[in-house]
Amino acid sequence: MRLLNWLNWLRKPKIKTGIGDYASTVPDNIWIKCESCQTLIYYHDLGENLKVCPHCNYHHRLTAPELLLQICDSGTFKEEDADLTSRDILRFKDTQSYAIKLKEAKKKTALSEAVITGLGQIGSFRVGLAVMDFSFLGGSMGSVVGEKLVRIIYKTMKENLPLIVICASGGARMQEGVLSLFQMAKINYALNDFSSNSLLYISVLTNPTTGGVTASFAYAADIVLAEEGALIGFAGPRVIEQTTKMKLPEGFQRANFLLDRGMIDRVVNRKALKATLTNILEFNYGR
């Protein structure tokens, strides 16, 4: 999705936007290659199909705005805390300073952080929402991601609504050191409060969800859904291979692997995600 589109969509929530809109600025006759099966697909067709490859069912990564477009009732999403942005508190520098990395990520993604939070409607039900974006520094969780999550958790709680968090993350943000690590505790604390109000929390794990995000709010949900084919785990596959010197089994850490091992409630095809969420929200409403 282009920056312009995204801004339009965010600023004019009353304007009706269809799922296809975000792709409409790209000419229909542009081809792109499926990342999995390498088949050439019209960009338009891929967009119409929610970026799920029509040939091999591979779920290409969505940006947070794309995901919001997909699951929210058109024009209902209102972002919160869009102005919260990260600072380079530790003055962390690897080959580049964290400050510069932040600046570039913002420019590249047109996002202010790796998560968008707000209130919106799904299937006519009002919900609290947080959607992570892997394209912003690998969806990593720093202090601002933590703070935005905590704020939306309490805001959702105050309005007595269910909460949906769509995860996509490589884990904690190293450049914020132990501050990012402790966001896990901070967020889980807020979720404890949320839960003790009998409110429902649903997490959706998309490709990839690993590290500190998985080991905190991703698995603290009442109902855990996973997108088809998503990689989900605590340790990354390469780390495991290096540590154990073992070949990883076929499909290891993929959504269906985890379903078989009892770790998630359901595997959902992206095209069914909104319907499944709506279904659960109906159950929540019907109690």
């Binding site: 690897d94 050191g177 690590l181 901070k186 080991a215 698995y219 495991i240 154990t244």
Partner: protein
Amino acid sequence: MEDKLTFELPLLEMEEKIRLLVEKEGETKNTAKLTLLLKKKEEEIYQNLTPWQVVQLARYQGRPRSLDYINMIFESFLELHGDRRFGDDPAIVGGLAFFNKHTVMVIAQQKGRGVDDNLFRRFGMPYPEGYRKAQRLMRLAEKMKIPLITLVDTPGAFPGIESEERGQAEAISLSISLMLSLQIPTVAVVIGEGGSGGALALASADKILMLKYSIFSVISPEGCAAILWKDEKYAEKAAGELKLTARDLWKLKIIDVIIEEPLRGAHYHPEQVARNISDSLSHHLNLLRSLPLDTLVQLRKEKYLKIGKL
């Protein structure tokens, strides 16, 4: 695992020299002078330890382990085993004990000593069932209304195929949530390596105390270097950037107290360090115990919700 603290080599050389001299000539003015120089050099090195040197100390094989401290700090520790689901993970030990005549629950990550014990305890890297045993014991502590004391010392949760199959991430997440929800005073003491989420699972306490030469980090310096610098050799640099020493965490307002260690580390005077831990524990437990439950809960909430708001 290397077994030597490389930055101590000058000290070791001086010690050897003094030893040989004393052997040959007995204690002389000369040896006394050299001993004084040694002391000075010790102070010089230990007052200027780099983060990477602290990492080496925190991981040092000879450093006292959880069970060493448990034996020195608590009375009649009775280990309780198993998660009542799948297994009993020796990388996490837990049980009832007396501290200052009061019953407490102690849960600790336990690194091994020697090859066999290290393999047995997976170098202190827990399996999911380790965290689930911890959860069971946390619930028992809450039911018994006794304080929970945890000792943190792990490179991280074990990264293995079985770990993922049995839900390492879920186990850590639930452990953090549960520990934060306990209606009892909780104190965590980081005694060596506080490695990532696998350490946090036992460290989400009312008070977090850290030994002076222990570390707490979002990722190992080596792992960080491999990802950000694409080269593990930058681990030393990463150690500095990550802000992982007790002093760093205290400045970042994440931990409450730094517990003193003697020059050259806890392994030089384990009993003294055990007494230091004991004194600090005593102080903080008494304080937490004196609070009404709702104040305890409120303070915990404030502590955790403010993290990162600098």
